[in-house]
């Protein structure tokens, strides 16, 4: 089947533009998101344009019975896997410079999201091109593309700590040198000076899981590290590398499965602390769903 030159241009242009817009929307600057700098922006936008172009060209190629075009999509998938590698490598390199590292789980999560966003750009572009081809109308194609971008938000939806657990403020109590929250010992602080600072500026919250699934997920050390990293980077730490007693820490309460988070912040505002923890992403890669297993359900009942 032959496509007229004009339609061909419409198909490809619409696909590329909508696909790039999709990538651009997901590139919004967020306090926690990396990249937050112009170079990173440029890199990811360029890759977004390339993936959109691949998606857009695939439709007319298939219509003209150029089936080898599919292999190019496979090539694109390889390329995006490369994006993930790059993200992972650069974040891992920065770990050494972080006072509180992100942790492997969080890095893996960020890298996966970046890979997935390129697929979204490609899928939106392909869908838009297909719509333009079928309807022969740029306007309908654009509407379809917009709809695809809107629906892709549901695919890319991330859960947050507030979705899987309650976050409650609590109090730090010292029993001799032992730092305790809710009768759980978190650390042994030998120095009087350290204890005084913790008593004055320390904050404690309890993360109470909402069910079996979230209990297992929230006990994962990767999520706990991500919580510490986010909280430390938003409130600022009093800790320095030579004052390890002021390090933020987490501990699980073996009685009920709660997680206790303690931090000595520059701005000890407990409400802000609770809010920040609620908005930490519940890392997808470490979430477990034991409620779907018959054995685990039996154990609970």
């Amino acid at each position: 089947m032959n496509i007229s030159h004009e339609l061909y241009i419409n198909i490809v242009a619409c696909g590329i533009i909508l696909g790039t817009i999709a990538r651009f929307i997901y590139l919004r600057v967020d306090y926690r998101q990396y990249p937050t700098y112009p170079q990173g922006y440029m890199t990811h936008l360029t890759l977004g344009v390339i993936s959109a172009a691949l998606g857009a060209f695939s439709v007319p190629a298939l219509i003209e019975k150029q089936y080898t075009a599919v292999t190019f999509l496979a090539l694109a998938a390889q390329q995006f896997k490369g994006v993930r590698e790059i993200e992972r490598a650069s974040l891992e390199k920065m770990e050494a410079t972080e006072l509180i590292p992100r942790g492997a789980a969080y890095i893996e999560n960020i890298a996966k999201i970046f890979e997935a966003r390129n697929y979204i750009a490609m899928a939106v572009a392909a869908l838009t091109s297909l719509a333009v081809y079928l309807s022969k109308s740029v306007i309908i194609g654009t509407i379809m593309g917009g709809l695809a971008i809107y629906l892709s938000r549901y695919v890319m939806k991330t859960a947050y700590i507030r979705d899987i657990a309650e976050v409650l403020p609590s109090k730090i109590v010292f029993k001799g040198p032992l730092l305790c929250v809710e009768n759980v010992v978190l650390a042994d602080i030998g120095l009087k000076e350290g204890r005084e600072i913790i008593e004055k500026f320390g904050m404690a919250v309890i993360i109470r899981p909402k069910g079996l699934d979230s209990l297992i997920s929230i006990n994962n050390l990767g999520i706990r590290q991500a919580i510490l990293h986010e909280a430390a980077n938003q409130l600022g730490l009093k800790m320095n590398i030579d004052t390890p007693e002021l390090a933020p820490r987490t501990m699980n309460n073996s009685k009920n499965g709660d997680i206790i988070v303690v931090m000595v912040a520059m701005n000890p505002d407990i409400e802000a602390f609770v809010e920040i923890i609620k908005n930490v992403p519940a890392i997808e890669t470490v979430r477990k769903y034991p409620s779907k297993s018959r054995g685990a359900r039996k154990a609970v009942n």
């Binding site: 602080i189 009087k192 590398i241």
Partner: protein, 67 residues
Amino acid sequence: MEVHVTGFIIAIVALKKAKDNVSSGTAPIIYVENEEEQQKLSMYLSRIFKAAAHDLENGVFILVKQY
């Protein structure tokens, strides 16, 4: 990649009267007269070695390497 050895005792600061509570090991033992001096010395060592000072509540402080 930098490699850090963590989680080992770098020094022990013990009161003289708690001498029976410590014996030789891998870490040097520093004896002090009173609790004030113990606090001060532990603080110095903690800052020097980037170690956390832990109070064992029997007159013995251990300094554990953290970074």
